[in-house]
Symmetry: C2
Subunit: 120 residues, 2 copies
């Protein structure tokens, strides 16, 4: 049973918008992801998605208005809710918590879709 | 859709070993809890349990040997695994992530069992 140090894990990869699996709790994964720039608008049909910011500043764009999330803060985007994350700082480090079935681009499949995630 | 600031939420309560619900993701709750001293040995039959330390230092006592968890670190205790958390510092602030069905004392029911959790 390993103790996972978030900072050490984030130091192990440099690619953006490519979540890595850092733990699992029943049917959920804990994923680590680095964000830069803007993602794509999408939603998840069945999955709620938690974004916990550990470094940098995230804007969660929503059709109902944007939310800003800083270090030590989280937001839960409920299933069915269109969203588009944007990194407000050069780089944002995010801990994601979401069902194992969650695809990063949700209902959209494009060149940013990653269906096989690495473990870290 | 609220942005949850962990530090602000931890400032709202002062009781120990009494998890507060701060969010939900499908069938999981995010809970905040303050630890002081030692808890009780227990396990959860069906539920894995994630402990993310945000302040202080936690020792997770396990039959296989203890693990220490500091700020910015997490450990997942798998279902069926006996464990007993101990605060190594005066107070430890922990984000828990676990299925909604999880009882704080697991298979043990005693004076420290809390079956109705407050939302925060």
């Amino acid at each position: 049973m390993d103790v996972v140090n978030l900072s050490e894990k984030f130091g192990r990869f440099n690619d953006y918008w490519s979540p890595k699996i850092a733990g699992e709790i029943n049917d959920m994964y804990v994923k680590l992801v680095k964000l830069k720039g803007e993602f794509v608008w999408h939603h998840h049909e069945q999955e709620d998605e938690l974004f916990l910011v550990v470094k940098g500043r995230l804007r969660m764009q929503l059709r109902s208005g944007d939310r800003e999330v800083g270090p030590g803060e989280f937001i839960v985007v409920p299933r069915g809710t269109e969203h588009c994350p944007v990194a407000l700082t050069d780089e944002v480090h995010v801990v994601l918590l979401e069902p194992k079935s969650t695809l990063n681009t949700g209902n959209v499949v494009n060149e940013r879709t990653i269906s096989e995630l690495a473990h870290i």
